[in-house]
Symmetry: C2
Subunit: 504 residues, 2 copies
């Protein structure tokens, strides 16, 4: 479970207080002035280090100790900002030799507490490694430092007619290194596929200082185990990614958006299947929103609803292609077809850029509107597509039975809402509440996790494990898989200094 | 270097004779009647085992001991054909406990000797595990046994309007398990991406019998290290893949093909870039053929050339989309554009299915026609796209200088030819010869490998390492990478029983 961001507490609790059961591992050394001296000499520049050991630097360090949701807060006293792979290598080797725990940090935009320290782990922040190393505008291969901000790379590519094959809300701050380390999914996955397919090469540093020089710019290279894949989604627990090579597709010239209403989840599946068939190569998003989610957005924003009547389900389709006329024709034909077959009951097509944005608002506005009443219990899950929405229905039934949901103040729960990336079988189950309440949590957990486990779903589709989901991995992975994962961790990080207390 | 298939020797030499420097590792046990008894009891059925230990079964075993190119031949005396993952697990555990070496075998269509034994390794052939386990026709997720033949799966999907995201010449015999184990690339990679992105889950068995139950059907699942990736391209050296889950795209309704002539490799790159921009989402193949390759095909087949004049380079473009009219319009507009800008000098568009096949014949016919004079030295390499063709030019210059190339019989070399999957930066450098000649080999090697290494290319783009390329990995991978790969091998297969003498 992840709790939403709105209200409730002004001061941020230390993670060590929120999770009193997590104890600092005594095998790790405490930072000394000698350690700091080494790092100062290694990194040289004043801007490369924030030293809270020899002086009080609480204020300077604060942004690195906590996350943007204000849910996690660590006790670190040292921030290192290496400027090269060689510096990362020497810093890590020293930490490993001296049993100093480390947290790799990118743009710090994660949702599961993976990029902030719990205790006094040294933060290795990658923001100074921010160069675009090369771009081949025939093959579309981009090579960047890990600290390059996603939006910076995408803007750079836009000028050349290319697009970064990943897009997400935090693009203005997140680092590409962090995206890769967390295997970020985002909005373009349906069209461009996952980072496991798009990342061509990785340069990374292991705890012992070994530089993994696997920064291939080749689309095909069948010479041995594809080790870079372990770093994709490894959440900084076996090494620090310092460079990435990635294949980028051409940027689409035309974007079209349609929004429509349907009478059941069965019809949503039909509409999706038809969309894949008819829109095929131009389909770039297929988003699902239930009635409750749209009612909430309507209530909070007071915007005019896109359709005249109300429907149990809504979908948003986006197409991206190289020819606006062709795409329009395909989308219109598709809508005609699904309306004639009564798969879709009503629909509207955006006529211009403003309408595109307005329609997307009914999807993208959901998370914010959900927080309107106070808080949100959030689950980011993946379930085989035929049962995707049943989780929302079953959760709602259970909460209704508990008597905790209602229109009046004494009921903590306002509504149970489902929406998400239908195209990727990725559901956001959100429970909007007037206040966080232990009774609600008890109804939700372990119910939700058990429900997902029964269907071989994933308890974390795209957010990762971090600290928040560490204890729940057993709902999505077998004992065997967890054992094999721990073997990998042990292989690369035998001292356990990399991002401790998290992941598996 | 891989040698072509035509002529030269009627009897197949044992691999142990071709490579006398490879010695049987004495740590492996010799097969006994007790071992055979165990496997007979385990697998039950008569059709599950070919026993060459207690009787002479040379003839029955022959197809499993050798490869289709007739280049490799082993000495195995035992073929196991398990019917379930549980049987694979018990068989492997027994082999591991008794130090019996093993070769996993799929359709045995590989090009580098990876799927045939060298000495008396037991062959575990997967052909009896040939069930399609499930298909979700909303998400497009297919789950199959490893032994399902690629074409069988693709035909099954065709009926449902889907396509397998991989296509290659051997599709009538290759197993999907083998495709995944060798990370096959093939014809659709430009459009649908690599198996690292498309494979959603893998079920595999480790040498100690552990069943890796990572057969997720989910598109997104960020819960721990993506271990399945190690098996993709692992060439059966850390375990045997028994099941695969893969995401399949919708089948395109329209296929269009164009063939054109260009004056230089610079223009080829321009044409490719323009194709990516204008054809973007419908581009499914961009193949390069040089003048020499087309001259050879013309000479051998006597077919009428598609274009009236001759050009230094030719390209074949294929589009696949959901609307034939739209695709035609895009392709025509593209051709107009590139001809007007003089990027392309002449071009032709296939008007029907027959012409589509005829044009593809000028690309697909190259390998066969190359063998016309006797033999072929073949290299399947990947090079950054701007230097892709320079390898052919430099090799030709070197061979010409050596005096080994000419029109008369005393010259072993007929021609140096370049063609390949331009869209994937994947070049096939082929040297057509009248006979294999040590002097030619000395000119070619290590020259070709050194040339590729200097440009950070790959000495095996899609064929893998197997036995053929085992000793050349150092040209494409650093000492560090090889050391890290050996660590993985040691972790999963400490006894070294899996596919020995090959890979890294």
């Amino acid at each position: 479970m992840s709790k939403g961001t709105t209200g409730f507490s002004k001061t941020i609790k230390f993670t060590s207080e929120t999770y009193p059961e997590i104890k600092r591992d005594s095998k790790f050394a405490e930072l000394t002035l000698d350690h700091v001296k080494f790092f100062k000499e290694l990194l040289g520049s004043d801007s490369a280090i924030i030293d809270g050991v020899s002086r009080d630097a609480t204020e300077d360090i604060e942004p690195f100790n906590g996350d943007w949701m204000r849910k996690y807060k660590g006790h670190t006293k040292l921030i290192l900002k290496p400027a090269s792979t060689e510096e990362v290598s020497q810093a890590l080797k020293y930490c490993n030799d001296n049993m100093l725990a480390v947290v790799p940090q990118g743009g710090n935009s994660g949702l599961v507490g993976g990029s902030v320290p719990v205790f006094d782990e040294i933060v290795i922040n990658m923001s100074r490694m921010n160069k675009i190393r090369s771009f081949d505008d025939v093959s579309g291969t981009l090579v960047v430092d890990a600290g390059v901000i996603l939006e910076v790379a995408d803007n750079y590519l836009a000028e050349k007619g290319y697009i970064f094959p990943l897009d997400l809300g935090a693009k203005g701050s997140c680092h590409i290194g962090g995206n890769v380390a967390t295997n970020a999914g985002g909005l373009r996955l349906l069209r461009y596929g996952s980072l496991h397919g798009n990342v061509l090469g990785i340069e990374a540093v292991l705890p012992d200082g070994t530089i993994v020089d696997d920064l291939s710019r080749l689309r095909k290279n069948n010479t041995g185990y594809d080790l870079k894949q372990l770093f994709i989604g490894g959440e900084g627990t076996i090494g620090i990614i310092t460079g990435i090579s990635i294949i980028c597709p051409q940027r689409s010239k035309a974007i079209n958006v349609a929004y429509f209403g349907l009478e059941s989840y069965e019809k949503v599946q039909e509409a999706f299947k038809e969309a894949k068939g008819q829109l095929s190569e131009i389909l770039s998003a297929f988003e699902l929103m239930d009635q409750q989610s749209q009612d909430l957005v309507g209530k909070v924003t007071n915007n005019k609803r896109p359709l005249d009547n109300e429907y149990p389900f809504y979908c948003l389709i986006e197409t991206s292609g190289s020819n606006a006329e062709h795409d329009n024709e395909k989308l219109e034909k598709y809508l005609e077809h699904v309306m004639e077959k009564e798969v879709v009951l009503d629909g509207v097509l955006a006529q211009d850029e403003t309408q595109v944005k307005a329609l997307w608002g009914w999807r993208e506005g959901i998370p914010e509107c959900l927080g309107y009443w106070g808080g949100v219990y959030k689950y980011d899950v993946s379930i085989p597509i035929n049962e995707l929405y049943a989780l929302v229905e079953d959760t709602k039934t259970k909460i209704k039975k508990s008597g905790l949901m209602g229109d009046t103040d004494e009921h903590p729960v306002v509504e149970v809402v489902g929406y998400g990336h239908m195209g990727d079988s990725n559901l956001h189950l959100n429970v909007a509440v007037r206040r966080y309440d232990k009774r609600v949590e008890k109804v939700l957990e372990p119910f939700v996790y058990e429900w997902i486990a029964k269907r071989s779903g994933s308890i974390s589709a795209e957010h990762g494990l971090g600290l928040a989901k560490k204890n729940y991995i057993g709902y999505s992975r077998s004992h065997t898989m967890i054992r094999l994962m721990k073997q990998i961790k042990e292989l690369y990080d035998p001292n356990g200094i990399m991002n401790p207390y998290k992941y598996i």
